[in-house]
């Protein structure tokens, strides 16, 4: 039986960047095939070529043994390829039915096609257990359900081969489990699934075979049963990496940051953080786990002084922070520093040279200037030293901030904050969009900081990260703290339930 998909010697360049170099890939029919690789390894480009979003510079695509020319999404759909993008391709104000119909309306007037869509959706729902209200407005559905709509769209248009790009990035663990059950059901029905992910655990759990990409090249394809996460990580990075950073037991010290009764509303007046109480001690890492959008971001911003809480008290080293003190400048003076979640929007200025981004918030340091004047040489020297220390590549302080890779941008932000000797460090999504190699480095830094007696509050949507780094874990759902666990006394299922808002069974 010929493979469902064969890619032969695919090449694609964007300007100077060779995003795909002589890539070969063969995906057997009726299997789940994983593709892993670091950011920028060329996975997304390859899949975009397969889905007709880009055209390859050279190379051949075969579907079920037959060569096909795919120049547009339409060609891909005709060839039986469907794609579930990482950022959903849904029209939020439209209903589920309208979204599914889009591009396959079945006639000039919608009424005729609609009956067919409804019948077909009913059948698909029964076959795969995809329960969904077809008249709901898509924008009002949960993220997990929106993903189902994406899958239904692809199946409705007759996809035999389904590509999923980082499908679990936005899901709660129970939602991810439901997705995997569905993917297995699809496989049993003879569909072929290509799963792009950077979570090695998912690869091990669900795929039959896995291909690894590195710097635009396909470096290996192995049977999942015959490989292991460390081996895959090594193939991805090209050297040995530690997936789990060692950390010693350490008894926490005095409480540094305490909040009680803390509530925050956003700019639209919606209550995002409700009645939160937490304490961060010296020498401990407190992790906040939760699905994106459950109030963690607002909590972090409020603690950093960027938003004022509507209610609640905040104490720093035992002293209450007054209302008029609640601003980022004052917090920084006190020693409460902040690595924001979104480095491109809040962490640095993409258009600035690196040495300018590296002094944001600290530009009044007398070492970096004289009165209102900035001393560029001093700023450059300062960043040069930090770049060497944090292994930032390329070590060029004059390069524009946006020209660095995600991991290196993050190191610049981390260096800026950590080297100011924080008492408490607030860290949001420290490794989002960061390569595995850099993740290891960043994790080591944070643990070294904790061992030096700094209190760290870590907000991350990566459960692995929370579990690896934290001494104590709080879960958030709907703006409230739904549970607290010691890191060594919990597991993923337990945290997953708390993150989904299931009340604390241990309490």
């Amino acid at each position: 039986m010929s493979p469902a998909i064969e890619l032969i010697d695919i090449n694609k360049s964007f300007g100077d960047v060779h995003a795909n170099r002589n890539v070969n890939l063969s995906v057997a029919r009726g299997t789940i095939h994983g593709i892993v690789g670091e950011n920028g390894a060329g996975k997304s480009t390859l899949m975009s070529i397969l889905y007709g979003f880009y055209t390859a510079d050279s190379g051949e695509i075969r579907v079920n043994g037959r060569p096909v020319a795919i120049h547009s999404s339409n060609d891909a759909i005709t060839a039986g390829i469907g794609m579930v993008h990482q950022h959903f391709m849904l029209v939020e104000p439209l209903t589920v039915v309208e979204n599914v119909m889009l591009g396959a309306e079945g006639g000039t007037f919608l009424r005729a096609g609609e009956a067919k869509v409804r019948a077909e959706l009913g059948r698909l729902s029964r076959d795969y257990g995809l329960d969904i209200d077809v008249d709901a407005t898509v924008g009002e559905l949960s993220v997990g359900l929106q993903q189902r709509v994406e899958i239904l769209k692809a199946l409705y248009r007759g996809a035999d081969i389904l590509i999923l790009d980082e499908p679990t990035a936005v899901l709660t663990p129970p939602e991810a489990d439901a997705l995997f059950t569905l993917l297995k059901a699809l496989k049993e029905q003879g569909k072929t699934v290509i799963l792009i992910t950077h979570k090695l655990r998912e690869i091990m759990a669900i795929t039959d075979r896995v291909s690894v990409m590195r710097r635009g090249e396909m470096v290996a394809t192995v049977e999942t049963a015959e490989t292991s996460p460390p081996q895959l990580a090594e193939l991805m990075v090209g050297r040995r990496v530690l997936l789990r950073v060692e950390k010693a037991e350490r008894a926490p010290g005095a409480p540094l940051l305490q909040v009680e009764n803390f509530s925050v509303i956003d700019s639209r007046g919606v209550l995002r953080v409700s009645n939160v109480a937490l304490t961060v001690h010296a020498g401990e890492i407190v992790g906040i786990a939760g699905v994106a959008g459950n109030g963690q971001s607002e909590l972090l911003e409020a603690l950093a002084g960027m938003r004022r809480p509507v209610l609640g008290t905040m104490r720093f080293e035992g002293r209450e922070i007054g209302f008029d003190e609640h601003n980022p400048h004052r917090m920084r003076q006190l020693g409460l520093l902040h690595v924001p979640e979104d480095r491109l929007r809040m962490g640095l200025v993409p258009a600035f040279q690196a040495f300018e981004s590296a002094v944001l918030g600290f530009s009044d340091d007398p070492k970096l200037g004289h009165g209102p004047l900035l001393d560029h040489d001093a700023m450059i020297e300062d960043l040069k030293a930090k770049m060497a220390h944090y292994d930032v590549r390329p070590p060029n302080p004059r390069l524009k901030s946006s020209k660095f890779s995600g991991g290196n941008q993050q190191k610049i932000v981390l260096a800026r904050e950590i080297e100011r000797n924080p008492r408490v460090l607030l860290v949001g999504q420290p490794t989002r969009g960061v390569d595995i190699g850099a993740i290891e480095f960043i994790h080591r830094r944070l643990i070294a900081l904790r061992d030096a007696g700094v209190g760290i509050l870590l907000v991350s949507v990566e459960l692995d990260e929370i579990m690896n780094l934290s001494d104590r874990i709080l879960t958030m759902c709907g703006g409230q703290i739904t549970g607290e666990r010691k890191a060594d006394e919990t597991d993923e299922q337990d945290l997953g339930l708390l993150m989904a808002g299931v009340t604390d069974r241990a309490a």
Partner: protein, 301 residues
Amino acid sequence: MEFSTIYAVLDSALRLSIPLLAACLAGLWSERSGVVDIGLEGKMLVAAFAAAAAAHAFGSAWIGLMAGIGAAVAFSLIHGFASISQRGNQIVSGVAINLLAAGLTAIVGNAWYGQGGRTPPLEGAERFQDALFGHSAPVYFALLAVPVTWFVLARTRFGLRLRAVGENPAAVDTAGISVTGLRYSAVVICGVLCGLAGTYLSVGQSAGFLNNMTAGKGFIALAALIFAKWRAWPALGACFLFGLLDAVAIRLQGIALPGIGEVPVQAIQALPYLMTIILLAGVIGTAIPPRASGVPYVKER
């Protein structure tokens, strides 16, 4: 107030709301597809001029309408080329269209007719005559455009795709539909309706083109569009409301109000604009535009 007065005011309100309505629906088509159009004013103006000039030259209001539509569609395509094909800034392009239209109509008008930018007065068949209930054909075209717009957007394949492209063009692209094609279609429809609006001004309502005769109607139409939250039936209501304000303002000129006395003409003329600001600021709540409007579509990696 007598019944006949009320009837006269309502009748005049309808008359005054027609150019607003056509322009407002024009904007609706463009913006629902994701192309912001602040050049409605300019397109109405070139249409008004082209229509008056052609009606005068060929002695037919209908040829005037064709010319008006042709001119407005041409300007629409300029805007489309700048904002869809070249992915330029849609506000800048719209402003350029308005400036170009204001300058071009004045200069060409003066060069052709030597009457300070006016076209020669239109008479007889050169103007649209009353067809039904004291209103001319373009009035009914504009009114008919409301249910047609609603039906096409809500009930047809083209409408579904157009609504989708204004919200999330990437979704349309991945569904295998041309974003560019849809947006150009919308922009052309916008041109046709702007042509109707402009033609009605110079060949229906008035008897010829006057310098800058749109006098901000394109912007009032945009305000009505926001007020109507980019929907066809509410657009009818919003435009009629603005037309009514205009009609009342005209009616109140020179009349002494009890307790206030005679209100200056300028204050009354400012009323519709003032109301626009008040309505937009407070009454309607948040009006959320189509999410992709104003954003050129670029395929992302």
